[in-house]
């Protein structure tokens, strides 16, 4: 699925098996989004940069 990047207007690739909360990047401008799945509807919300405490 391709959704529109709210920053640059290009298409953001969202994997078919994307899960609620998954992170995706706009390959054109690098903006990071979080996939939101609500009532079967998929949308993107901006998450900002990698957080200081993120890791594995």
């Amino acid at each position: 699925m391709i959704l529109k990047c709210s920053e640059c207007g290009e298409g953001v690739k969202v994997p078919d098996d994307a899960l609620d909360g998954e992170l995706v990047l706009c390959e054109v401008c690098g903006t990071q989004f979080m996939v939101k799945v609500e009532n079967g509807r998929i949308s993107l919300s901006q998450t900002g940069e990698i957080q200081e405490d993120w890791g594995e």
Partner: protein, 281 residues
């Protein structure tokens, strides 16, 4: 209780999808919960086995404590999360337990840090105590570089930035070792090579992995390090130095895509089998 294994995640990755796939194949009832959609209510919430897989160390550590109050089993334990979510605590525990680890100094004052860096010798490595993926890890060649980085850290104003973690720069081949420990077993091990133009080896930075065969002695060292932090499911990193293997990081929310690609081991299956064995004990 419906699910046998409840996976708590903030931002599911390839690994969480793999865990769901393996659970299905093994006939283990597993559920993935996005923590943004969950309000924990001590009076009403009960989980059989909670497996915490958030990329936020702050949230993982807190969840480990909260879920301990209303889960039968929590992996990794709150003890393990508290130690491994903070590099300073991990290093102190490893060192105190006799596990070989790079020489490290933790301090809270810039002038003292400069003095201690001279003792460690330049280049010196500076790391934030939280986070991983190599983020904000720096190799600083001299006193002036360190002074500038410390000034920047202080200007950021976060209390966490005023914890200074300095480590000797270990002479090693351009790779480190990543072992995935599940319970009392090293299930897979890879050597991770730095990408071109980079000294850090993190897969998140583009490092490449290849299968690595551990000696029995090396395997024992990884297992001993796992036991020191309370065990569970861990990604343990080591460097090959002139003094032998040095354990330098233990990751409680291990990402295993790189090691799976290098070794073809079904790590997710190993993890789910382990979790299920805990339920059946």
């Amino acid at each position: 209780m419906c699910a046998e294994v409840t996976i708590f995640s903030d931002h599911p990755r390839w690994e969480e999808k793999e865990l769901l796939r393996a659970s299905k194949e093994l006939g283990v009832k597993a559920e993935l919960l996005n923590i943004a959609r969950v309000a924990l209510d001590c009076a009403r919430t009960l989980f059989e086995l909670s497996y915490i897989r958030c990329i936020s160390h702050t949230k993982s550590q807190l969840l480990a404590w909260l879920l301990s109050e209303y889960s039968e089993i929590v992996v990794n334990s709150r003890h393990t999360y508290t130690i491994c979510s903070n590099k300073a605590i991990t290093t102190a525990m490893l060192s105190a337990s006799g596990i070989p680890t790079p020489r490290t100094v933790v301090c809270f004052d810039r002038a003292l840090a400069l003095e201690k860096a001279e003792e460690l010798g330049f280049p010196v490595v500076i790391k934030p105590v939280y986070g991983s993926w190599g983020t904000m890890v720096g190799k600083l060649s001299d006193r002036d570089s360190l002074k500038a980085v410390l000034e920047h850290k202080w200007a950021l104003g976060s209390p966490q930035d005023q914890v200074i973690y300095l480590q000797e720069f270990v002479k090693r081949p351009p790779r480190d070792l990543r072992a995935v420990v599940v319970g009392e077993k090293v299930v897979a091990c890879s050597a991770r090579y730095s990408p071109p133009g980079e000294w850090r080896t993190n897969v998140a930075l583009g490092g490449k992995s290849e299968r690595h065969k551990l000696t029995q002695e090396e395997e024992e060292l990884f297992l001993k390090a796992a036991r020191v932090v309370g065990g569970g499911v861990l990604g343990i990193d080591a460097m090959e130095s002139e003094r032998g293997l040095l354990i330098h990081e233990i990751n409680p929310g291990v990402e295993f895509k790189g090691v799976v690609e290098a070794t073809r081991v079904d790590v997710a299956r190993e993890i789910v089998s382990y979790l299920y064995s805990l339920i059946k004990k």
